[in-house]
């Protein structure tokens, strides 16, 4: 509704007119709202079919559909590269009338923000980022809590005291996982060293397998990964060592090798967000749920894990759930042995989100 500067309508009439107009618009909008389902779009970085990151998000999408039925209509675009393509896809989803759009990879952060500023009536939710807007919230999972629990298991199960970690790219999320895992392992076994190999890819089964075998060659007898396929589990199974999966329960890829996996279940969070948009109560916020909310969990434990270790893991899980402990409660030392977090304090979420140093027990230099 625009009026020319030289409009003939007087000021008062113009005001009245615009209020009436707005009211009409609002009524139409709310009528349309209740009749039509909430359209939700998802942008995925990988294929939905694998057992990894995108698979877990798509399970969340299905969860929303199952619980809200006709009230929602979801679509998704998979394997969207981070960058210019992402902006195009997000714009398209917004232009097509989606009311709520989840963008589920770190690299979508800037494109999402750009599109959010252009489509002010659309609600955006970005996973793993830190930039927000009036109509753009962020969320993530405290996967590191699962990493810590699986680290306890790795520390107890290793005989060589060398644990291998196949990582993707040195960003805070991945570094946080390495540190949490190492913290768990070192708590139960102070002699443990965690060796990290960067595969420089999120997804290439053959390369992930080679990375795993390289680590096994260098005496690692428990492996874990922050890449998306199950190739590391397979390599461990073939070479007779243990492995811990990520994203979803990867036990089918190696019954003997698979000790457990850190898993994400986005469903309840997505349902909550969708419901909030339907109810009109949505606000831009930064959500970071974890074990307490059920967003982070670990898969059923392998039979090979002794009962006392299982009990320890469950006790720690319970403590995290009840808020009695946090993973990075001090003292936390850096590689040089300097206390970065003092005893009796803990790391803030801000510090966790910007993690860019290795804790004691991680071998090698953090790439810059």
């Amino acid at each position: 509704m625009t009026f020319g500067k030289k409009g003939t309508i007087s000021g008062r009439a113009r005001k009245l007119f615009s209020v009436l107009g707005l009211a009409t618009l609002a009524t139409t909008a709310s009528v349309a709202h209740s009749a039509e389902p909430l359209k939700i779009g998802f942008v995925y970085v990988g294929p939905t079919g694998d057992a990894g990151w995108t698979y877990a998000h798509d399970e969340g999408r299905k969860y929303v559909e199952k619980h809200l039925g006709d009230k929602v209509q979801t679509t998704y675009v998979e394997s969207v590269p981070e960058g210019a393509d992402a902006e195009r896809v997000i714009t398209q989803l917004a232009a097509k009338g989606n009311d709520l759009i989840f963008t589920t990879s770190f690299g979508y952060m800037n494109p999402t923000l750009k599109v959010a500023k252009r489509f002010r009536k659309v609600t955006f939710e970005h996973a793993s980022g830190y930039k927000r807007n009036k109509n753009m919230g962020t969320y993530f999972t405290r996967a590191y809590q699962g990493r810590y629990l699986t680290g306890l298991i790795a520390g107890k199960m290793t005989k060589s005291n060398v644990i291998g970690y196949v990582a993707s790219f040195p960003i805070p999320e991945v570094i946080r996982g390495i540190n949490a895992f190492t913290k768990g392992a070192r708590e139960v076994n102070p002699d443990v060293q965690v060796k990290v190999v960067w595969a420089s890819t999120w997804y290439d089964p053959a390369k992930e397998r080679e990375a795993a075998e390289t680590l096994i060659l260098q005496k690692a007898d428990v492996l874990t990964q922050h890449t998306d396929s199950a190739a590391v589990i397979q390599a461990a199974e073939a070479k007779g060592v243990y492995a811990i999966g990520y994203h979803s329960d990867m036990s089918v890829y190696g019954e003997k090798a698979h000790l457990t996996s850190t898993i994400h279940s986005w469903g309840p969070l997505y349902l909550k967000k969708a419901q909030a948009v339907i109810d009109g109560t949505w606000t831009s916020e930064d959500l970071w749920p974890g074990i307490a909310e059920g967003t982070t969990n670990i898969a059923p434990l392998n039979k090979a894990i002794p009962d006392d270790v299982k009990a320890l893991v469950m006790a720690k899980k319970d403590a995290i759930k009840k808020g009695e402990m946090r993973v990075f409660d001090g003292p936390v030392y850096d590689q040089a042995g300097k206390a970065m977090v003092a005893s009796g304090t803990t790391m803030s979420d801000k510090e966790l989100l910007g993690f860019n140093w290795y804790i004691q027990g991680v071998e090698g230099q953090l790439p810059k």
């Binding site: 294929p47 079919g49 694998d50 057992a51 394997s79 790219f169 040195p170 060796k195 990290v196 190999v197 960067w198 595969a199 420089s200 890819t201 997804y203 290439d204 089964p205 053959a206 390369k207 992930e208 397998r209 080679e210 990375a211 075998e213 390289t214 680590l215 060659l217 260098q218 396929s229 199950a230 190739a231 397979q234 089918v252 890829y253 071998e363 090698g364 230099q365 790439p367 810059k368």
Partner: protein, 308 residues
């Protein structure tokens, strides 16, 4: 660096290079006949999914390998029909084939994600595998690795000293002339395209049955494209394709091994190494511009319409 590690690096180099050799040899033969097929990635994925599905259903990885090759051939037949018979643009048709294969393989394999299979294990060659060092590096692989060597030998021999090789080359150099002396350009090109499809399918089968016995979408991770580049940088010579593929394999392995050894360099920089090393070496090898131009099939990518 201890000795065992060196042996293992060389062993892994061969394994990493194998799918590239298969795809690149197939594409090389195809291009020698004058047909540019950019559908490698799609054919590899179709081979991977078909091979995996057949192995699960029949319980026999050998049948999986055959199915993988058949799937690659079917895909290349589709390409041949469009690009050779209907004279569509080879570049556009090839790209479409990749997109089609990527989508179709994901669709077909959706319910096979997360299925575990035995896979093709190592077959240590009797006697030869007992030779110290060499035995472990060269003769303790899975059968498909040996097959890749046999296929390399076949292609090398064909273009070096057989009539078939000459015929394929002449069709790629000058289809009109080949047609004039009574050769069927269509038959030769179809044959070369089908061979390329079978090789790409086999490479897919290698990935999903031997390398990492699992099926996930897009698991070829761009190997089709790397192989395409390899053919060009190897200036259409089989021995350079082999060398280039192993070089690429070695550099990718070193990227991982150096990190494990505590070598302090940016992993992103190291990840670039395979591409840079392979291109540099092959370009240096092919520095004779005249010879390289002579090796490039003259009619590459140009559709052929018989004169009526």
């Amino acid at each position: 660096m201890d000795f065992d590690l060196v042996v293992n690096i060389l062993f892994a180099t061969i394994r990493t290079g194998t799918p590239l050799i298969l795809i690149a040899l197939g594409e090389m033969v195809c291009e020698k006949s004058g047909v540019l097929n950019l559908g490698q990635e799609g054919m590899v994925l179709m081979g991977a999914v078909a091979g995996f599905m057949a192995a699960v259903v029949t319980g026999h990885p050998g049948l999986g390998v055959l199915a993988a090759m058949a799937a690659g051939m079917l895909m290349s037949l589709l390409f041949g029909f469009l690009a050779i018979s209907l004279v569509t643009s080879q570049v556009a048709t090839g790209l479409a084939l990749t997109i089609f294969g990527t989508g179709l393989s994901a669709f077909l394999g959706a319910s096979y994600v997360g299925v575990g299979i035995e896979g093709i294990g190592a077959w240590t060659v009797p006697l030869l595998s007992e030779i110290p060092v060499i035995g472990k590096i060269l003769f303790s692989h899975d059968p498909l690795v040996y097959l890749s060597w046999a296929l390399f030998g076949l292609v090398y021999f064909c273009f070096k000293s057989t009539r078939i090789g000459l015929i394929v080359r002449s069709v790629g150099e000058n289809p009109e002339a080949a047609n004039a002396i009574g050769m069927s350009v269509f038959k030769v090109r179809y044959g070369a395209v089908l061979f390329g499809g079978a090789m790409a399918g086999l490479a897919g089968g290698y990935l999903s049955l031997a390398y990492t016995p699992l099926w996930t979408e897009g698991m070829s991770a761009g190997r089709g494209w790397i192989a395409l580049a390899l053919v060009v940088f190897a200036s259409w010579r089989a021995e350079r394709v082999l060398l280039g593929a192993y070089l690429f394999g070695a550099a990718s392995i070193m990227h991982l091994v150096l990190q494990g050894l505590g070598f302090e360099a940016s992993p992103n920089l190291l990840a670039m190494l395979p591409y840079v090393a392979t291109i540099v070496v092959l370009v240096v090898l092919a520095n004779d511009a005249v010879k390289t131009r002579l090796n490039t099939p003259m009619a590459l990518g140009k559709p052929y319409r018989p004169q009526l």
